[in-house]
Each structure stands twice: as C-alpha cells, then as structure tokens.
Point group: C2
Chain length 352, copies 2
C-alpha cells in the first residue's frame, strides 16, 4: 500500500522524498563534446556546468571532467591570471568589483574565481554572496564563481586550476583569483597566477606588522586600498613604508621590480593605474620570456605536487600505519625512539 501511495505521488509529481532531494533523478549521460563546444563558443551556462563537473567528486564526473579539460586545453592559456589577496576587511570584493568593471570597459572579459580553504567549513565564505559584486555579476563580460568547497586545500586548488582552463577556453582573457590569507592559500594562489597583488590598509598598524613570511616577497604589487578622505595621508605613509620594505628583497627572476600603489576601490580612484602596472608586467615578462617559463614551471609544480599529495594520502590511509603512527608519536615525544627509526618502522608496515 505504502509503495502504491508513493507511486501515485510520483505520478502526481509530488514525491516528497524527491522534493526533499533524497531521491535524485537519473541524469542523462552528459555529452562532453557538446559541452566543450559550447564552452569554447563562450556560453556562460555551459561554463558553469563545466566547472560543476570539475568540482564533482563522483568518479564518473571526474572522468568526464578530464575529457572536458583536454578538449578545452588547446583554447586555454591566452590570458593574464591575477592573484589577489588581503586580510578580511581590506576591501577585496569592492576592489574586484571596481577593477573588474573597469576592465570590461576596456573590452576585457573578466572571470573571477576564489581559493578559500575555509569554505569547506563555512560553506563558501569568499564570493559566496554574489551580491557583494553587484555590478560586476550582472555584466555580460564578467563571470563570477564562488569558491569550490573541498576537503583539502590541494583539492580546492586542483578544482580552481581546472576552472581557470575552462574560463580561458570560454574566451575570458583576464582571470582574477581571490584568496584570503588562511593557511597556505596565498602560496597556492601564487603558484597558479602570473601576477600577484597584495591588498593592504593604511593605519591600524597594518603597514608593517602584517608582513608575514613570504607574502610580501610573492607580491608583484602592493596596493593600499581605501586611500580616500582622511585616509589619504596614512595611505601615502604606508606606501612609503612598503616601498622601503620591498627594498629588503633581492631582485626577482622576472626582472620585475614590485610596485606600491594607493587606490580607493569605493571611489574608483587609482584603478586604471593598477591595470597599467599589470600591462607593463606582462610586456616585460613576455619580452624576457619569463611569462611562459613561469607557466611551465607552475605546470610542473602541479604535476609533482599532485603526485606527492596522492602518495602521502595513500600512505597515511593504510590501516597498519594509522594504527601504529600515534603509538610511535607517543614514544617519540618521550625520546624513546628516534624519528628515523620510527619512520623506518612505518615504511616497513606499508610494504607488507
């Protein structure tokens, strides 16, 4: 009787389980070739679908995603990839809104992606709310995608890297990758972009205190945001302080000298100057061939990184290793065993 009732409801199209999402419709097999064609033709809906495929954890989807990437690859790589980082409150969304809108007036096609290692917990804190970029998200030459969630930064990074390829194949020539400085996310973003921009605030002791390991060194430009009204003078002082700090670092392989600028994203001031900076960076590094070399190095890095992550995950997932590791760590903390003997023992467990 129960199943009959269910059947009737399905016929009526009001199966409550389905409505709650506990029963899923069998999807028709996705035509990857067609999807690739539509992406390459610049169809935003197809691009969204493609990225969803890339983000899926279903094995079948992952296989389809790889095929999709391969089809898109020959059409990718014609872009500038810009990484943008800065602490919460620095005005990243407002900056990207202003910067991205300006670029579309130059005829650029702008895609905005995000790497947010915290999003798997908070369910997408970065770009999760598209309304934060009101104007840009309604611009037909812009494409905004919230951060992929994932169980590891490595996973999020892979998805973002593959999303970049799809965006480029869809004709986006300016890719902006936003991140907030959580864990290693800045390093991860730095390893997938051509140009790395650090957003900063004047005052509030943020000028120098916030200089964290390696972030300043990674920056191709430091931009002091909110340089308007009473904040203009502190911003100029911060600019001078950062310019001095940048002198502490040795010259870069790119032969590019990192620059410091001020801007007010809210008032759209100083935005075009930042784009001019990025254009000169691209000109210089294409001239001296660093641009292509860096992309090759990044590809190799991702290849090796993926292998290493997989080897480690596989090792620590082993039940024997899982059982023995905490015991050896305990012995290690009491200096009863050397780290090298402990490692040797764990490695021998996995081989058996």
């Amino acid at each position: 009787m129960e199943s009959n009732k269910e059947h009737k409801k399905v016929i009526k199209g009001i199966n409550p389980a389905f409505a709650k999402g506990t029963i899923k419709k069998e999807k028709p097999s996705l035509d990857v070739m067609l999807l690739a064609q539509e992406i390459i033709a610049g169809n935003h809906t197809a691009l969204s679908k493609g990225i969803t495929l890339v983000e899926s954890t279903v094995v079948k989807h992952q296989e389809q995603a790889q095929l999709l990437i391969e089809k898109c690859l020959p059409h990718a790589n014609q872009s500038i990839r810009i990484g943008i980082t800065g602490v919460p409150g620095v005005g990243k969304s407002t900056f990207i809104e202003s910067f991205g809108s300006y670029l579309t007036t130059l005829g650029k096609k702008v895609a905005v992606l995000a790497v947010d290692p915290s999003s798997s917990l908070s369910h997408g804190s970065i770009l999760g709310d598209k309304t934060r970029m009101d104007t840009l998200s309604q611009n037909k030459n812009a494409f905004i995608r919230p951060s992929a969630s994932g169980d590891s930064l490595g996973g999020v990074a892979r998805k973002t890297r593959e999303a970049i390829i799809l965006c480029e194949a869809a004709g986006f020539d300016t890719i902006i990758i936003e991140t907030v400085g959580v864990g290693q996310s800045e390093t991860v973003v730095h390893s997938m972009v051509d140009f790395f921009l650090l957003l900063k605030l004047a005052g509030a002791g943020d000028e120098l205190q916030g200089i964290k390991r390696g972030i300043i060194e990674m920056a191709d430009a430091i931009v002091i945001n909110k340089a308007d009204g009473e904040n203009e003078k502190p911003a100029r002082l911060a600019k001078a302080a950062f310019a001095k700090a940048l002198h502490l670092y040795p010259p870069k392989d790119s032969q590019w000298t990192p620059k410091v600028r001020t801007c007010s994203a809210l008032k759209h001031k100083g935005i075009s100057e930042i784009w001019e900076l990025i254009v000169s960076y691209k000109d210089l590094t294409q001239e001296n061939r660093y641009f292509t070399r860096k992309r090759h190095e990044q590809n190799t890095y991702w290849l090796l990184q993926t292998i290493e992550n997989s080897l480690k995950e596989n090792f620590y997932r082993d039940p024997h290793v899982k059982k023995r590791l905490p015991i050896l760590l305990e012995q290690l903390s009491k200096n009863r065993i050397s780290p090298f003997s402990a490692a040797r023992e764990l490695l021998s467990l996995k081989k058996e």
Copy 2:
C-alpha cells in the same frame, strides 16, 4: 705462477692489492653495546667511531647505528643546539673558533658539526680542514666533526641529526651546527637546532641586499662579524639597519625578540655577549616551555619528512614512472595535457 707469486707476497705481508686498499680486512663484528658505553663515558674516539657508523651506507652498519642511537637516546637531549649560518667569507670558522673556545673556559663541552649539501661534490668543504679551527680542535672539551657527505640534503640531515644524539650522549652540552647558505641547508639546520644565529658582514652591500627569503625570519640573533678597526662604524650602521628589518616580522611563537649584535671573532670582542643572549633565550623558552615544545615539533617534522622523502624516492625510482615522466613533461610543456591528468596517469602506472 702469477697466483703463486701473489700468495708468497701475502705470506711476506706485502700483498700490493692490500697495500693499495683494494683488498680489505674482514672487520670484527662491532660490539655496539660496548661502543654505546664508551660514548656515554665520554670517550671521543668512540664518539668518532659511532658517527662513522651512523654515516655508513652499509646496511649492516645502518642496523647497528640504529641500535647505538637507541642506547644513547636516554642520555641525549641535555644540551643547547645552536645553528650558525652565513655566506662564505663572513668568518664562520673564526667565529666558531673564538666562540667555542670561550665556552670551554666556562666549563662547557662543545661539539661542532656541519651540514653542507655541497660536500658530496667537493668532498667536505665545511670543516674539512680542521686546522681552520686550530685552537678549538686541540681543546679536550671540544669535538669537531667535518660534514658528512651524502647523495642528498635529506641524507646529510639525517646523519647530522643522529650525530647530535651521539654527541649529547657523550656529554657535550653545547652543539654547534654550521652551515653555508646553499639550497635548503639553512631550513634544514633551523629544523634541528634550538637557537639560530645568522652571521653577517657590514659594508659590501651585505646589510640588506642579502636578506633572503625566510633566513632573517628564522634568525634568533643576527651577528655582524668583523666589527673591528675601520669596520666598526659600518658594523654599527648595519646593526641599526638589521634591527629595523627585524621589526618587519611578527612576534615569534617563542616570545623571543630577535637581537642584533656586533662582534669581532678575530679580536675576541663581543663573544661573551652573544653567549649571554643565548642563555637568556634558553631561560625564556624553558620558562614558557617553548624549548621542549619546539624539540617535539622538530622530532615529528623529521618523522614525517623521512616518510615523505622515502615515498617520493620509491615512486620516482619505478622503471615505468621513469620512462613515462619525461614524455608527459614534454606534453605538459606543449599544453597538450593538464598537470592533473599527467599525475593521474603516472600514479596508475606505479600501482600496476
């Protein structure tokens, strides 16, 4: 006839092959227990022998070495481990000679080891020439050991870590690890010491230009050497510049504020002040328990590091991977494959 002649020579004790070292006498099985006892009793010759065992690549020796380490471990860890780095010419040997000799006048027992990734090529450039530390090497309360050679920095690092344990078991309470800034050697040394000292020179543009990624941040003290004669003023200026640079970094977990000092190792000026600095560091970090916590973290780091290195070596040694990797890298450089597909293919090869 030939073999008969050879035989006669052996009988006469003049086997030329033996003299040339091509025939080796069978060594009596080493009594590891006895060796451990002698090391713990403070016998320098036994300590040397123990370190040689640790450095050996012979499988049987490695097993004996592990047993020796285990016997010595309960007697280790009672020391301060000091890392010293600086570019060639900065006067590391002279500094260690002066600093180490001073420490012995305080009743300290000083062991000097080195991590030198270039030594496998140059056959030991650091401390290779013990005469560079003439006074110290003849001091009965000092022990100087040239850098272990090895085919990888990881290998050299493991040997040095184990040598530290043996030195400590032999009663050395002050362990100095010297390194020259080649590749990742500073990071490796930093991960095995309690206190990290960066030697610098004034003038010659070395004040700020030489600030390399992370090295300044790792330093617990920056010491401007050769602050004598005409160099005194530039050294003071360099001191001020470095003190300023150190302000760029956020406070350390240790709650220790890194210090800048000047010294003249040649004239033995400023040496006792550096030791006082290290004593205050030890007092502070033992008080706030950072000292022990850092050592535990270092042990865990070495455990995980050893496992990861071993997993990678094992993977890239696989003949299928070896054959396919260059082909995939070639395809990668032409953007015909994504780094993630390439990684997936290589990982599947190894599983077969």
